[in-house]
Subunit: 284 residues, 2 copies
């Protein structure tokens, strides 16, 4: 499938990310339909012109009319959806997702999927600490990274299709990684980071910290405002990789603790210089 | 001393914070002089109208002409400065600082200081990950917190003077804490936070992470670009409190690790809900 102007896109799961995809794609002139069980989300999306059509349940003809289907569901619900409704896909349809874990779902879905449709997995590295299509905003994609995680089952044309989608949505950098490489990255860059923020936030029950804090604590705990249903599911599905990075982090942290306890200022400064040097790779 | 328009302010140490104080106070019409050993900083400040006068060494008459002296030095150098040059202070001068640790210096300075001048300690909770008067910017004070840490030696008028200064500089909220309360807050909100950022940044030597990351890792590591000389000194001077909070954090982090390893999703979600609830106190 090519991204031509009369392409019909179906978005299943119209949350923050699904809604932001819808906004971007509709503005580009594609026909955008959504399936989202939450009635108020459907009403909001229709009232605000975020989608052309929207339904609160799975309608076979609606699924069958889509050239491409983008899943904005949590991982387990996504797999269940494919099991239940894949018979409705149009032959030749392209399927992608926005799921934050890959190796635990991509192979399963490709194994169960009909031969005449293709699933190319992808992950937009963008988000907000608010939820729902009511907060959808495709500006979050500008300057952000987009990761495509093909397997050996995927065709070059599907990878190219996903790359085009990333560019159309406004992403700045589009990377291609294996599902395993993706999950390792995400274990470190995203999941470990969220664990740290939560643990930092739960260290104190003082309700007056807002009056004393500087920006650094605010920055480190922004994501401590966390969707517990989604993130606990993502953590469990990438448990091994997450635990590996939690242990690496603990070891780094405890080695700093020892330097501080021992008054080993030179080692402490060396670690800070290393962190400063590595942080510089993030300036682009 | 009152903040009247012809007050003469001396800033000793014209770095990012000293320079930002200078900008704000000069704009308000005060006569601002600086002593800063780095020649290029003095030249920059004079060329850009950040100060009225500036000197690269301690000139007795210059110190003696100041109604108020603000120290923007690292803690140990600050204490040494007082030891060496306090004889130059004008009788009745008000002294304050910007130092990030308090109990380890405030009592020592008050003990050694002449009876006819008063030191009221304060700490602007604002900063940037860049250094020097060249990056001075008093906009960083807007919306920020300012903490004053009086002891029993301080007069009410000195506390009021420091509160006025905080308001004049543009701070949003001005708090009064004991030096010990301050150091506990800072151990948690600032020092622990910097330790975490450094440890997180040193977990991987992958130089391509920039192509895969989302905003959360960037947010958590912004302060991993760290001034090793300053922060190692601050950590050492507040070691006991910092170690206490490092241990609390480790315990929280490891308890999350156990929940993830055991698949105890309900406890994990409970912890996330607690962190979300506590993070909400930071929205004001």
């Amino acid at each position: 499938m090519e991204w031509i102007s009369n392409s019909r896109i179906l978005i299943v799961g119209l949350g923050l990310i699904g809604g932001s995809y819808a906004k971007a794609l509709k503005r580009l002139g594609f026909h955008v339909t959504a399936i989202e069980k939450r009635r108020s989300a459907v009403d909001f999306a229709l009232a605000n012109g975020i989608v052309d059509e929207a339904y609160t349940s799975v309608v076979g003809d609606v699924v069958a009319s889509a050239d491409a289907v983008i899943f904005g569901l949590y991982p387990k619900v996504f797999v269940e959806w494919i099991e239940s409704y894949q018979q409705y896909f149009r032959s030749g349809a392209m399927i992608t997702d926005v799921t934050g874990v890959k190796s635990c779902i991509v192979y399963d879905i490709q194994r169960m999927l009909r031969d005449d449709v293709e699933f190319i997995a992808s992950h937009p590295m963008a988000g907000k600490e608010v939820y729902g299509v009511e907060n959808a905003d495709d500006a979050i994609f500008r300057g952000a990274n987009f990761i495509i995680t093909p397997t050996e089952q995927n065709t070059q044309s599907a990878i190219a299709w996903a790359q085009s989608m990333g560019r159309l949505l406004g992403f700045c950098h589009i990377a291609v990684l294996s599902p395993e490489e993706h999950d390792e990255m995400i274990g470190y860059l995203s999941q470990l980071t969220h664990c740290i923020a939560v643990a930092l936030m739960t260290c104190s029950d003082n309700q007056h910290l807002v009056d004393y804090t500087g920006d650094s604590f605010r920055d480190l705990t922004r994501i401590a405002n966390i969707n517990d249903a989604m993130w606990s599911e993502l953590f469990m599905l990438n448990r091994e990789m997450l635990l590996r990075y939690m242990d690496i982090f603990s070891s780094e942290f405890l080695s700093m603790r020892d330097m501080i306890e021992k008054g080993d200022v030179e080692s402490l400064r060396e670690k800070m210089r290393l962190s400063t040097e590595r942080r510089a790779y993030f300036n682009r």
